[in-house]
Structures are given as structure tokens and as C-alpha cells.
């Protein structure tokens, strides 16, 4: 009996507590930088596309929402088209984990509602941003041992020049 009255009293006291609700459209919730929202494609610090069209993201995607086609230009790989169907995407972040070049990244934005379903299919133009995203200094071709025009084999960061097989010197 007293327990019941105490319960009622404590419940009534909750009228003076702070509301737990975030009044969403007027009051935006805090989203941490690693929040898994809208997917973007980022660029190198020097402005080139990071994506090398390796298809690992498309393979890792559990719902097969990523579709891309490789093409080659200036001696390196690019996606000819890169398409994410956001009506399928489950925002698991596996693509970001699979990406060897930090190209594909998830961002703290979820406000992407559409009235027509086809509008949820994002093409490369929609996905590509002008910045570097979460990894400002990373450039894949600067650390990978792959020669591209303007950078020879062995010229990458923390990489020694290749051994000259024809030389007898140690």
C-alpha cells in the first residue's frame, strides 16, 4: 500500500524532469563523426578520385546495392560509373571497411527521404564530394607500390627503389 503511494509520488515527480525527447525537425540530434549515414566517394588531397574500381565494396555489400564498372585512364583505374541504390542500402558500413583506398565513406547525414523510389539511386556525380572526408592526408597512390604516370616504381612514401638485378654491387 505504502509502496504503491510512493510509486505514484515518484511517478508524479517525473513531471519536473527533463524531457528525453529530441524534437527532431526543429532540434537536430548530435551525430558522431563515425555515424553511418549517407555514403559518399571522397577525393585525394590533390583532388583526384580515390576510387580505383576494385569492386571490393560491391563484393562486401550484403544487399548488393553497389554497382560499378572499371575503366582505365592515364594509366590508373577509375570507376566508369558508380551507383548506389539507397533504397536497398542498410548502412552497415562494410563497404567502408572493405575499401583499400578510403574512397567510400559513410557520413553523419540521414535526411535523404524521397517521394519517388528511383530518386534513391545515387550516381557517381551524386556520390563524389570535393574533399577528403575522414582521412585528410591519405593518398592511395602515394603509399602503394604501383607506378602511375608521374611516379615511378619505388618512389612511394616509405618505399625503397627496386633492387637492380643486373648489378653485382651489394
Amino acid at each position: 500500500m505504502l509502496d504503491t503511494l510512493r510509486t505514484l509520488f515518484l511517478t508524479a515527480l517525473h513531471a519536473f524532469h527533463r524531457r528525453a525527447t529530441v524534437q527532431y525537425p526543429e532540434q537536430k540530434p548530435y551525430l558522431p563523426p563515425r555515424y553511418r549515414g549517407r555514403i559518399i566517394l571522397s577525393r585525394d588531397p590533390d583532388g583526384a578520385e580515390r576510387c580505383v574500381a576494385c569492386n571490393l565494396c560491391a563484393v562486401a555489400c550484403p544487399v548488393d546495392c553497389i554497382s560499378l564498372q572499371k575503366t582505365e585512364a592515364d594509366g590508373r583505374w577509375y570507376p566508369e560509373y558508380f551507383r548506389i541504390n539507397f533504397s536497398r542500402c542498410i548502412f552497415c558500413g562494410f563497404c567502408e571497411e572493405a575499401c583499400p583506398t578510403y574512397a567510400i565513406q559513410l557520413t553523419p547525414d540521414f535526411e535523404m527521404g524521397e517521394y519517388a523510389r528511383p530518386n534513391l539511386v545515387y550516381e557517381k556525380d551524386d556520390l563524389l564530394i570535393s574533399g577528403t572526408g575522414k582521412h585528410p592526408d591519405y593518398s592511395f597512390y602515394n603509399v602503394a607500390g604501383i607506378p602511375i604516370p608521374g611516379k615511378d616504381r619505388g618512389a612511394s612514401e616509405r618505399e625503397r627503389p627496386p633492387v637492380d638485378l643486373h648489378s653485382l654491387l651489394p
Partner: protein, 318 residues
């Protein structure tokens, strides 16, 4: 029949129905208040028109009668529920001389009788639905409401003895000096509990028991038939609150403010308390509910009748 009486008869049910509809919004806001959230606050100022939106929606919903149901009874049940509650309001004295039949000499008996008839709505709904959960809900409702009716009647006896009348006007008039809640505190407690059980409100909403019976007796109801049960329940809350006000809290009596305002304030406070009960208390098990009724409330109300009678007799003989 005079013109005013006719308008009263037409407008009273409309006002009560409107009140019950708005009460659904008030309840949700209050529950939100006590659960650290806001409740519906989007439609209109403070979410005021949520009730209108809900009402519009439920009016346009498909009103489906299951093919296995007993059609006639199925349709009649919600109407009975609504009717008994609305009829009970006829004798509630809002102010001196107000009400459709405010001066009825057996007003209290009329209310208790109407509440007794209200059991039919729930039982018939559960029976005619012809499905397990609805039947279980109806069965629980029958047991719960009929047993709590006993204590309700007994708890009211104290008030009737002190006022010497079944007339609700006279009962309010008898509370001139002291509200009956003080001398009749036991009866007040029992009547409150019985009233909650009668309207099958939380925490005594076992006939509905969402998490065990689907929706209990109105599992098979949809559209406005369900809406009728819903509105009747909220009108029932207002009814029990206004009865508590009339019987124990001195009715329209109070200083400074007009009589009607006092009545509304007290009734509103009681409704708020009912909602607080819902916010704060869990639902008891079914056998606990019956045990509380027969092992605690019945002896208490009998003791109350005996004590009140003894004191009145002693006072009369002195």
C-alpha cells in the same frame, strides 16, 4: 417538456463525447509528462487537435464484422456500453439544479444500476466475437466487474447513511461543513479502486490485457465500433471522477469560484489522478485482483458500513 430541458438532453451527450475525445489527447500528454517525454504535440497548438485527427481517421476506417461473429449482438455491444455511460450522466449534479434528472430521488441507485448494465457491453462483446481472446477478456470482465460492483455498492452505503438520501443533490448538500472524504475515507478508497475496476482502466484493465489477450473483449472490433468502446471507456473515467467528486469531494461546493468551475476542477483532478495511476502502476495478476477484491476490499467496505452505522446510531441516541 420545456425548450431548455430538450437542449440539455441534446447537448449533454455531445459535450460528454467531446470531452471523452479530448481526454484521449490529455491522457497521452499527461502520460508523456510522467514518462519524461512530450506526447502528441504536433497537431494544432500543443497537439490539441490530435483527438480530431484520430477521430477523423477512425471514422474512415473499415468497419469489419468478422464472419464468425454473432452479428446482432456484435453490433449491439458497443452501443450498450456507450448508452449506459451516457445515461449515468443524466443524474450527475454539475451545479445546483443542473443536470437532466439532477433531482432524481434514487440518483445514486440509478448510476450503480447503469454501471451494472455496462457489464453487458463487455460480456456480450467478448461472447459474440466468437474468438478465444475476446471470450477470455469478456469472462474476466464479467468476473471483475460483477465482484467489484459489490464493494462499490457497499462503499457507497456509508455516504448514503450519512446523507440520508440517494439523491445526489442531497448528498452534495449534506457535505456543507465537511466533505465526506474525511469521515468516509475508507469508503472513498474502496470506491476509487472499484471505480477503476468498473471502468476497466489501468492498472485493472485485465479484460483488455494487451500483452496477454491481444485486446481482450474488443479484439475483433474495428473502425468506429472499436471507437465506441474507446470513447465509452473515457466517458466512464469522467463519470467515475464526477461521481467521486459528487459523493466524497463536496460536488460543486467551494469558495470564490462559481459552482460549475469547482465541479470541473475537482473532476479534472480526479481524472488526472486516474491517469497517474495508469502511468505509475503495473497491472496485477488476475487472481491477485480477485483476492484484493474479496479478501481486502469486501471486509473493509463491510467494516466501513458497520462503523458508520454505529457512529450514526450513537450520535442519534445521544
Amino acid at each position: 417538456m420545456t425548450y431548455t430541458a430538450l437542449t440539455t438532453i441534446i447537448f449533454t451527450p455531445l459535450v460528454i463525447l467531446g470531452l471523452a475525445t479530448v481526454l484521449t489527447w490529455i491522457e497521452r500528454r499527461l502520460l508523456g509528462l510522467w514518462q519524461d517525454r512530450h506526447g502528441p504535440n504536433r497537431v494544432g497548438p500543443g497537439g490539441m487537435f490530435q483527438a480530431v485527427a484520430d477521430g477523423t481517421k477512425i471514422l474512415f476506417k473499415q468497419d469489419w464484422i468478422p464472419p464468425f461473429a454473432d452479428r446482432g449482438v456484435f453490433v449491439a455491444a458497443p452501443a450498450i456500453g456507450m448508452m449506459t455511460v451516457l445515461l449515468s450522466f443524466a443524474v450527475i449534479p454539475v451545479t445546483m439544479g443542473a443536470g437532466i434528472a439532477g433531482n432524481m430521488n434514487v440518483g445514486l441507485l440509478f448510476v450503480v444500476g447503469m454501471m451494472g448494465l455496462g457489464v453487458y457491453a463487455v460480456v456480450l462483446a467478448g461472447w459474440s466475437s466468437n474468438s478465444k481472446y475476446a471470450l477470455l477478456g469478456g469472462m474476466r470482465a464479467a468476473a471483475q466487474m460483477i465482484s467489484y460492483e459489490v464493494f462499490m455498492g457497499l462503499s457507497l452505503l456509508g455516504v448514503v447513511m450519512m446523507a440520508g438520501s440517494f439523491n445526489l443533490h442531497d448528498i452534495v448538500a449534506a457535505q456543507t461543513g465537511l466533505w465526506f472524504i474525511i469521515p468516509q475515507c475508507l469508503g472513498f478508497g474502496v470506491f476509487m479502486l472499484a471505480g477503476i475496476a468498473e471502468t476497466h482502466r489501468l492498472p485493472f484493465d485485465l479484460p483488455e490485457g494487451e500483452n496477454e489477450l491481444g485486446a481482450g473483449f474488443h479484439t475483433e472490433y474495428s473502425g468506429m465500433k472499436f471507437g465506441m468502446f474507446f470513447i465509452a471507456e473515457y466517458a466512464g473515467i469522467v463519470l467515475v471522477a464526477s461521481l467521486v467528486t459528487t459523493l466524497y469531494l463536496g460536488g460543486w461546493r467551494g469558495p470564490w469560484l462559481p459552482a460549475g468551475v469547482w465541479f470541473a476542477l475537482k473532476t479534472g483532478g480526479m481524472v488526472g489522478f486516474f491517469i497517474l495511476l495508469r502511468a505509475g502502476l503495473p497491472r496485477p495478476r488476475y487472481d491477485q485482483l480477485m483476492a484484493l477484491g474479496w479478501k481486502v476490499l469486501l471486509p473493509l467496505s463491510l467494516f466501513n458500513v458497520m462503523a458508520t452505522g454505529t457512529i450514526l446510531m450513537l450520535r442519534a441516541s445521544l
